[in-house]
Structure formats: C-alpha cells, structure tokens
C-alpha cells in the first residue's frame, strides 16, 4: 500500500522544477488531471515529452510550464492545430520553447532504448527527410554487419513519467488495456513513475499476458476517477470529441485561453484521490 498517494502529493514530492517529464497515452488514457495539477503547482522550465502533445500539452505550454518540447505530432487530433503550441513556436508566447522533433517511430525507439537500458535506439528511418538535418538528435550509423545506413536516436529517459490506467490493486500493481500506446515503454524508460487510475480494486484478476506494471516499478499510484477526460478510459468513459472541437475556439485567443484555465483549472480544487 506504500505507493498510494494523493495526486497533489505525488506531483509535489516527485516532480521538480526543471525536470524532464513525459505524460503519455496515445489518444487513450491521457493523464489530464495530472497535467492540471502540474499547472496548479506552477512547475516551470520543464522538458515536456509526449508523442502527441494533444490538448494537455497545449494547456501546459500556454500556462508557461515548458522550456523544451520533445514530440512527433503536434496537432489537435481530428480537429486541426494546437494554438498554444503554435503561438509558442511561431510567436514565442508566453516565451520561446526549444523543440526536439522526431517521428512516431523514432519516439517509440527512444523509449524502448531507455527501457532496455541502452544509450540509443536504432531504426530504419529519416532517409531523405529534412528532419535529420534540423534535429541533432537524429543521426545515421552503418550497420556493422550489413553496412546498411540506419538512423540512431538517443534514449529518452525522463525524470518522471506520468500515465493514466484503468485500475490498480491495493498493493499498487497497475493494469491497463485497450489502445495501450507506449504506456509500458515510458514507464520503464523513466526514473520515477506516477500512475493515475480510474479505480482501486481488491484483485486485478488480470489475464496472464495482460499489460500489468508491478507495484515495485511504480513510484506512486493516485486514485483519480475521470483523470483521463476529455480523452478516454476504455471500459469507463468515451473520448469527449466535442471538448476537442470546442478547444479550438477556446485556445485560439490568448486571453480567452487564460480565462478558461483560471476558471476550470487554477481555481478548482484538486481531486482528493489517494488511498
């Protein structure tokens, strides 16, 4: 039961100013509540890591949490642009951010390399693409056996990884399913892992090959029902597509965005969570 914490305690204790933090979840199981707690606790100078920044990083970037962004696809899925991300890159508002831009495949390779304790990952990629020209973290190596030219990307080993999952048991073992994305990879890549869950159960009763993170690799488990909304938790609630569509309008204008964040994130009470 040792790793059960409230969300605000988990963020306060384990995430520090200037840290590299990954919040993962491929459209599914995005840890929105945790991102909001990071915003409320005014964590700054963070290196934010996510394959798809999504609305959660749009909010964190717009609220000034980010120094650097590591990503591979920065749109509002099914809708269009992430306006706060664009404002930061195009007009340096609220301040300039550095970007380390890879492809989806390269991000997954960077995570699996870190999870496997390797300094870099190797893949067949970026030949003919301009990305390698602008990103010093994409390099080419020759295969020592065949001579084939392959791309290499450094491992991404965040200080903290945060994911959402369906459930945990009282010992803090975590079980997730559906579109599992890179939840397991990023959890094993990071130095510390915070998992928010929909519910705490007595017995996970997970099938043999289920995606389970044993308690001893999870730093903190926080009970946060609804913690992935407006993304979704398979078996619990659907993706709120109307939120993503409405976000386009809210986020387009700086003041409108700040007012929304004040009313819906800053001035709200954090979820109780915990044991």
């Amino acid at each position: 039961m040792s790793n059960l914490l409230t969300l605000s305690d988990a963020i306060r204790t384990h995430l520090h100013q200037g840290d590299c933090v990954a919040l993962e979840g491929f459209t599914h199981l995005i840890p929105f509540a945790a991102g909001h707690e990071i915003i409320r606790q005014e964590k700054r100078d963070l290196t934010l890591v996510r394959m798809t920044p999504d609305v959660i990083f749009d909010q964190m970037i717009g609220m000034g949490c980010a120094k650097r962004l590591v990503f591979s696809w920065g749109g509002n899925p099914g809708v269009g642009s992430l306006h706060r991300l664009r404002d930061a890159v195009e007009k340096h508002f609220p301040h300039p951010i550095e970007i380390d831009e890879r492809s989806h495949a390269a991000m997954t390779v960077s995570y699996t390399a870190a999870a496997a304790g390797l300094p870099f990952g190797v893949m067949r990629g970026f030949l003919g693409s301009d990305l390698a020209q602008y990103n010093p973290n994409i390099k080419f190596i020759d295969c020592p056996f065949t001579g084939e030219r392959l791309a290499a990307v450094p491992a991404i080993r965040p200080d903290v990884a945060i994911i959402h999952a369906q459930r945990a048991d009282r010992a803090g073992n975590v079980h997730l399913w559906g579109i599992v994305g890179v939840q397991k990879e990023i959890a094993l890549a990071a130095r510390k892992v915070i998992v928010t869950v929909e519910e705490i159960v007595d017995d996970l009763d997970a099938p043999a090959n289920a995606c389970v993170l044993p308690a001893w690799v999870v730093t903190a488990v926080c009970h946060v029902p609804g913690g992935a909304a407006p993304s979704y938790a398979h078996g619990y609630y659907d993706r709120d597509n109307s939120f993503y569509q409405a976000w386009d309008e809210v986020s387009r204008d700086r003041e409108n965005f700040q007012r929304w964040m004040r009313e819906n994130v800053m001035d709200t009470v954090p979820v109780k969570g915990g044991a």
Partner: protein
C-alpha cells in the same frame, strides 16, 4: 468497365464548391476523390491508414469491393473494421473492432518496419513535383510562418510501406514546385535519387486529388496527370497546380462513381455524423467536462 453515363457527369460549375453536396447520385469533387482512392485499394491488401480522407477511402473500399482488406492504424489496431469513421487515430471504436491491438512501438517495429505493410495511405499539407510530402512547416523551419502538426508516423510509412498513395485537395498552395520541408520522402529530386538515398521501397504510386490523378513518370519520377475526373478540364488542373504540370499521352477519364460507391460513402458519413453527435449529447459544455473536478464514474 462500366460504360460512362453521360447523365452522371456534373457540369464544371457544380465542381466549383468543395463542400457542395451534389444531387442524389451526382458526386461532389471530394466524393470523387474518396471513391477514386478507395478503388486503388485492392482486396486483401494490408494497408496502413492515416486519419481523415485516407481513413474514409480505406473504409469505403472495405465496405465495397475489398471486404478482406486489412486496415492498420498507427494506434496499434490491426485488422480493424470500424462501423463509423474515427475522429482521432486512437478512437475506442478502432480497438473494439480490431483483430488485435498492439503497442505503438510494436506497430512501427514489427509490423511497419518489418515489411508487413503493402500500402500506405497518406495525406499532407503540401506535395511537390516529385511527390515529396510536407506536414511540418510552411516557411522556414526555425521561424515558421505556419507551424503544422509535424511528422507523426508519415516518414516511416512513406519509407517502409511497399507503396504509398497520397490524397490531397488540389490547389496551388498544396501542389507546389518544391515543398518547404521534406517530412516524408517521395522521389526527392527525381530520377533515381530515392534509390540513391537508400530507400528500398517503391514510393508513391499515385497522388489523388479532387480534380485528377497524378502518377510518377517512369524515368524522371515527375508527377504527371494521368486521369481527369468527370467534368474537369486540363486548364483547371494546370491553373490549380504550382508547377508547369504535364499530362500523360494516354490521359484517361475517371469512371463516374457508381450508385453503390456513392450510397455506401454517404451512409458511412451519415452514420459517422450521427455517432459523433451522440458522443456530444449532454457533454457540450467545456466546463462540465472539467477533467480535474471530481468526476462520477459513468
């Protein structure tokens, strides 16, 4: 081949508005584009699908002539058969109707890089004369005029699928002489430059627009117009293309979408709109969906 039904051809005028819905069985330009793309997906093909029009076309193919096509989305869903089109690449519908759901790292390593994908269906913000794709920036990379979403899975799909199809709306800002940024390699500078760069797969075999189909010419690899959609003139295509586009000697005419193709497409869109408006029912207020407030488990 079915004979061409003259009555099915809309006038030039009816093609002027993208959004305009045609009469009962007269296709809009956007519908023609989707149908033409769908026809290129053959039965049993293993196809890696991007969101948007590629996804619409791939599912139309599956619901008409290619029921056993295998659709793979980068969210890790393999052999998915969504009853409505997903709004995002990771919609639950894709997982619920898939043969299997694997991790994102597995989909890119074992399935795409492993050479198991025959066809990649891609969109982009820009495509150039040699079928290179840009989905990264308009303008300069370091200080872009427009920051686009970025690569996603496209560079590896373009490099590792045995062949790719590109779907894009036809206008001068999208079909350009040279893309501002090569996100995903097509034929690079033309000729054998793709092969010389070390790319081993076939590359783009067609660019399907709402006006026509362009294909890479045999040796130069330059995109030339090979097929005009109903009611579209050479002049319209030339004016909407950002380079001095050439037309194939054996230029053909797109076969008008059949009633079955059109009615299937429209029904798919209707069901999709219905499903997504149900999603939204009772959840239209942003504040009521405040994710940090105490949320009762549905």
């Amino acid at each position: 081949m079915m004979s061409r039904k003259q009555s099915g051809f809309p006038s030039d005028e009816s093609f002027s508005s993208d959004e305009k819905r045609g009469d009962a069985m007269v296709a809009t330009p956007s519908e023609v584009m989707t149908v033409v793309a769908a026809r290129m997906l053959q039965e049993r093909t293993v196809c890696f699908v991007g969101i948007g029009i590629p996804s619409k076309a791939a599912n139309l193919a599956r619901l008409t002539h290619a029921p056993q096509a295998v659709l793979i989305y980068e969210s890790g869903t393999i052999g998915t058969r969504p009853s409505v089109l997903p709004l995002s690449i990771g919609d639950g519908e894709l997982a619920l109707t898939a043969d299997t759901v694997v991790s994102t790292s597995e989909i890119f390593s074992y399935w795409l890089q492993g050479g198991r994908v025959e066809l990649g269906f891609l969109g982009a913000a820009q495509v150039d004369r040699y079928a290179n794709l840009n989905s990264t920036v308009i303008g300069n990379y370091q200080s872009p005029k427009v920051r686009l979403p970025g690569a996603g899975g496209a560079p590896e799909i373009a490099a590792q699928a045995k062949e790719t199809l590109i779907i894009i709306n036809h206008d001068r800002r999208k079909l350009v002489e040279k893309v501002d940024f090569i996100t995903s390699a097509g034929y690079l500078d033309g000729g054998d430059s793709r092969e010389r760069a070390g790319l081993k797969t076939g590359g783009p075999t067609a660019v399907i627009t709402d006006l026509c189909v362009l294909r890479p010419e045999f040796q130069t690899r330059e995109l030339v117009v090979t097929q005009l959609h109903p009611g579209v003139t050479r002049q319209t295509v030339a004016e909407a293309t950002g380079w001095d586009v050439r037309f194939a000697e054996d230029l053909t005419q797109t076969q008008v979408p059949s009633d079955l193709e059109l009615s299937t497409l429209r029904e798919l869109e209707r069901q999709t709109a219905l499903a997504h408006s149900n999603d939204a029912a009772g959840k239209t207020s942003l504040t009521r969906n405040n994710p940090t407030a105490e949320v009762t488990r549905p």
